[in-house]
């Protein structure tokens, strides 16, 4: 096959077995590309078990900075015999299959339209390492070396990454170098390289870091001053907890006493986790929990309590594939409705919806301010793709001058000065948000009995329908106040006038951005609306009103964001056209492009 080099634009997929140590090798591979200045993104596709099943790691390199999933795999490094047959099928025509030729490849697996590159990984590993465990682990580094050489990576950068990685365990560096060299040398000595898809250094990652959303979220909570996290393990939210704990251990231990300025509680279940968070927030500490769909379902009753008793809560929902236990290790945006209207009765809950790890960090911090300011539960809505995968994103930043917004809390002094009767649910400021007091603040003023039952403005139990309704109306007013407190949607108007829009949120940001460029290339101009929060900021309706049709990108089956839009903004449903993906894989730019560019309303709208 003739080869013309394609620089800095490819997708490489590593097909491994989980529990074999490939994940850390693959991560070093991606990190090295990042260090070479290349925009890179990695998706880990793993099973819901611990050892022995197929797992894939997909690295996309895109000089243009397109960091969503892309269809078409250019190179597959096939290390897993279980999935080999399928892996071979998945290589794009003209692409490469790098496999372990320690064993013979079945003839019927062969394809004429792709390039097969055999590397005797197992053989080399067996020859160079003694224990079975070492053999298995270093095989991973061997293929990293081989691939690096084949695509012309900078070897020093990889060694730098290895050195950094093992800086606390220096004795591990030489064997890793050795394995890397084994891979490199095999290619150098036996194969033509570089192959068609290759890389060269660039400078597209300045001011960027590569980090997963959950780590950024956990760190956001540390910066926001959260002192208590109660949680129950569940994929894909567990690493939010790990990150919070890790950084608390680093940053929140009193150097003198060795004591913790935080509490980290693995609860007995999700019901208890949110109960603890409610108790702590009621008592004036910033506390939060992180979970995924099944946890949110279990928390439903307490979510209603938070709404009605007006207790601040931050609830991080890293969405996975539903319904029920569903696809625990796959990504979806299918909890939009179940979060927005969680719990029985008339309830609504604000949601902050980050699209990048940097936003995970910022919005988590914002969520605490918003929860305390508005005395209600705030969801941070992310997903497995954002939470567990590494993304190229802006460096995290923090404004040291900004204070935490602890909301309307009466402290001892204020209570002391107060002459009128304290009314916990009085709408003093005409914004629907009342004042609260923290237990223990004042010997004789400000105490009240918090409850999830109907009560009057002075927190006294009542069954008076008028008083109840007035309180419900105040909660609606508070909802309107919240609109101005959440981040506004980002509107990216098209350069050219257009009647077509595309609305997206969360991780659909990456492919939607790419799809827009693809559409523009095809002469289709589009206004982009990036939803950042619920309730929707005013510009959402304003923008939609100016358009004829808006494509709503939802990573769920039922078009859940579309539901929220038509219901909350009274938009004619016919204006909103769903673009859906719900197979558990992140939606691709290709899919969005195809659905929009071939949609019949396009003719209608472009005729205008």
């Amino acid at each position: 096959m003739e080869q013309e080099s394609l620089f800095n634009d490819m997708v490489i997929r590593f097909a491994n077995v989980n529990g074999t140590g490939s994940a850390s090798a693959n991560e070093m591979f991606a990190k090295s590309l990042f260090k070479m200045g290349l925009p890179v993104t990695a998706k880990n596709i793993f099973p819901s078990n611990i050892q022995g099943l197929p797992t894939w790691y997909e690295v996309r390199i895109s000089e243009k900075g397109y960091l969503g999933r892309r269809e078409g795999i250019d190179i597959i490094v096939a290390v897993n015999p279980q999935s080999l047959e399928q892996d071979i099928k998945d290589v794009k025509s003209g692409g490469y299959l790098i496999y372990d030729n320690s064993k013979l490849l079945y003839d019927n697996y062969k394809r004429e339209d792709i390039n097969f590159i055999g590397i005797p990984m197992i053989e080399m590993s067996a020859q160079n390492y003694n224990s079975a465990r070492h053999q298995q682990l270093f095989k991973n580094i061997i293929y990293v070396g081989a691939v690096a050489c084949l695509i012309n990576m900078d070897i020093d950068t990889i060694k730098e990454v290895i050195t950094e990685q093992f800086k606390s365990k220096e004795k591990l560096i030489p064997p890793n170098f050795k394995a890397l060299d084994l891979g490199i040398n095999y290619v150098r000595e036996n194969l033509n390289y570089p192959i068609k898809y290759c890389v060269k250094k660039s400078n597209k990652t300045d001011g960027k870091i590569i980090i997963d959303g959950n780590t950024a979220t956990g760190l956001g909570a540390v910066y926001a001053g959260a002192t208590m996290m109660a949680w129950y393990p569940i994929t894909p939210s567990t690493s939010v907890a790990s990150a919070f704990e890790k950084y608390c251990k680093k940053l929140r231990v009193d150097p003198e006493t060795g004591k913790n300025k935080y509490a980290f509680i693995q609860a007995e279940d999700e019901l208890a986790a949110i109960g603890m968070v409610i108790g702590a927030n009621w008592n004036g500490a910033r506390a939060f929990t992180a979970t995924s769909g099944p946890g949110v379902s279990l928390m439903n009753e307490f979510i209603g309590l938070s709404y009605f008793a007006e207790i601040p809560v931050v609830l991080i929902n890293v969405q996975r594939g539903g319904p029920s236990t569903g696809m625990p290790t796959r990504s979806q945006q299918a909890d939009v409705i179940s979060c927005a209207y969680a719990s029985h009765g008339d309830t609504k809950h604000p949601m902050l919806i980050p699209s990048t790890p940097t936003e995970c960090f910022e919005y988590t911090a914002k969520a605490f301010d918003l929860a305390e300011r508005s005395q209600t539960l705030v969801f941070l809505l992310t997903d497995l793709d954002l939470g567990m995968n590494n993304h190229l994103t802006d460096e995290l930043s923090w404004d040291d001058t900004q204070e935490y917004d602890r909301g309307k809390v009466l402290d001892e002094e204020m209570l002391e000065r107060m002459t009128e009767k304290f009314g916990r649910y009085l709408d003093v400021d005409d914004d629907g948000i009342p004042y609260r007091t923290i237990p223990g603040t004042h010997p004789t003023k400000g105490a009240y009995f918090t409850r999830g039952t109907s009560r009057d403005e002075y927190a006294k139990y009542t069954e008076d329908g008028k008083v109840y309704a007035k309180n419900m109306d105040r909660l609606s007013k508070k909802w309107d106040t919240i609109k101005a407190l959440v981040p506004s949607a980002r509107i990216h108007s098209s350069d050219q006038s257009t009647k077509i829009g595309m609305l997206y949120y969360g991780t659909s940001f990456y492919p939607s951005t790419e799809a827009t460029d693809m559409l523009t290339d095809h002469g289709i101009h589009i206004t982009k609306i990036e939803i950042k929060a619920f309730p929707f900021s005013d510009n959402v309706k304003e923008t939609i009103d100016k358009l004829d049709f808006v494509f709503v990108v939802d990573q769920n089956r039922d078009g859940q964001m579309r539901t929220l839009l038509i219901n909350e903004l009274n938009i004619d449903p016919h204006k909103l056209i769903s673009v859906l993906n719900y197979d558990g894989t992140p939606i691709t730019a290709d899919k969005i492009f195809k659905e929009i560019s071939s949609h019949k309303v396009l003719d209608l709208a472009t005729q205008n």
Partner: protein, 350 residues
């Protein structure tokens, strides 16, 4: 609605050490049935808090849902309270306690609230050794939802609906001991001389202090039994099948010596036997406590008293190694690592 508290402040009442009158420990007027055991327990709590000179605002009272869980409104008006959701008070108390280690926490629950829907959270509150007094107002039934059997109802007892309970009762005291609670006691709502000191002791225990208080339900308790005073009412209810009559009753009081037993007549004339552990009892011997408990159960007696105290329990905050300043008092300075640290952190992701 009962009237357990005096309607006006008696001028002769004495201030306690922290300058409060006993009335300062009261709450709003109870809306429970006249004679309900729960009201007696509220009053014992008022007594205990007054007597140990606790400043009301230094206590936070939490509850689930039920007649029992309403009582925090009926004592300590100057304390913050949280009437949470059914069965989930333990987790709310856990969170509250973590936020401010300096307050005293009192959790009030019912046998339905704790032994059924709240069982999981109860077990784990014990396990974590949350610093709180946990009182179960145990009437063997679901008062607020009209008298269904609870999981502490005795095997064979007859519920309001006339069915015989086929399940063995869960003994919350036995369970708390098995789960290594550091303070375990049982008393009777009308036995102030035992209950008040027990609550005082619990309030000063540095960890989870559990008190199971037998508390007769005027309206639904022990429906079968003597046909005396209740008969007309019961006949009426059977005939109309509408549960809408509750006679006003006096609270049931009892006073008996340590080491003795007392037979008690409940509202409907049925009887229970309380038996009090002796004053020579060594409450540090758990094995013995369990043994006595089992034996008295087999004799059809309800053993009361302070069964077990472990003075060396490690509190939750100790386990978690938290700073001595309450977490809710830490300021941004204490908590926010600031932008320069963030620069370092960013580097680890480059």
């Amino acid at each position: 609605m009962s009237y357990i508290k005096p309607q006006f402040h008696h001028p002769e009442l004495k201030k306690n050490k922290v300058g409060y009158y006993k009335t300062d420990y009261e709450g709003v007027i109870s809306t429970l049935c006249a004679g309900c055991g729960h009201d007696s327990i509220s009053s014992a709590i008022v007594h205990a808090c007054y007597e140990i000179s606790l400043e009301p605002h230094r206590l936070a009272k939490l509850s689930g849902i039920g007649c029992s869980s309403k009582t925090p409104a009926y004592f300590l008006s100057n304390s913050h309270g949280f009437n949470s959701v059914h069965g989930r008070m333990p987790s709310v108390a856990t969170g509250a306690g973590l936020a401010n280690r300096d307050l005293i926490y009192m959790g009030i629950s019912g046998d339905g609230d704790t032994a059924s829907i709240g069982m999981g959270q109860f077990v784990h509150a014990v396990r974590r050794n949350i610093n709180m007094v946990y009182i179960v107002m145990n009437n063997g039934c679901y008062g607020l939802t009209k008298g269904q059997d609870s999981a502490t109802a005795d095997f064979g007892s007859i519920s309001k609906s006339g069915s015989e309970n086929p399940y063995t009762a869960i003994d919350l005291v036995g369970l708390a001991l098995e789960l290594n609670a550091g303070f375990v006691g049982r008393s009777f709502s009308g036995d102030k001389s035992q209950l008040v000191p027990m609550i005082k002791a619990a309030l000063s225990h540095p960890g989870f202090a559990f008190i199971d208080v037998i508390s007769p339900c005027v309206t639904f308790n022990n429906n079968q039994g003597s046909t005396k005073s209740y008969s007309y009412v019961r006949d009426h209810i059977e005939a109309t099948s509408v549960l809408d009559f509750v006679p006003f009753e006096e609270e049931i009081k009892v006073d008996y010596e340590d080491g003795t037993s007392a037979e008690l007549e409940l509202f409907n004339g049925s009887k229970i036997v309380l038996s009090k552990i002796s004053s020579h009892w060594d409450p540090r011997n758990k094995i013995l406590a369990k043994k006595y408990l089992n034996e008295s159960k087999e004799n059809g007696q309800i053993l009361t008293g302070l069964f077990y105290i472990d003075t060396e329990t490690e509190s939750f905050h100790k386990k978690l190694n938290t700073v001595t300043t309450p977490l809710n008092k830490l300021s941004k300075n204490d908590l926010c690592p600031g932008s320069s640290k963030l620069t370092d952190i960013n580097k680890t992701f480059m």
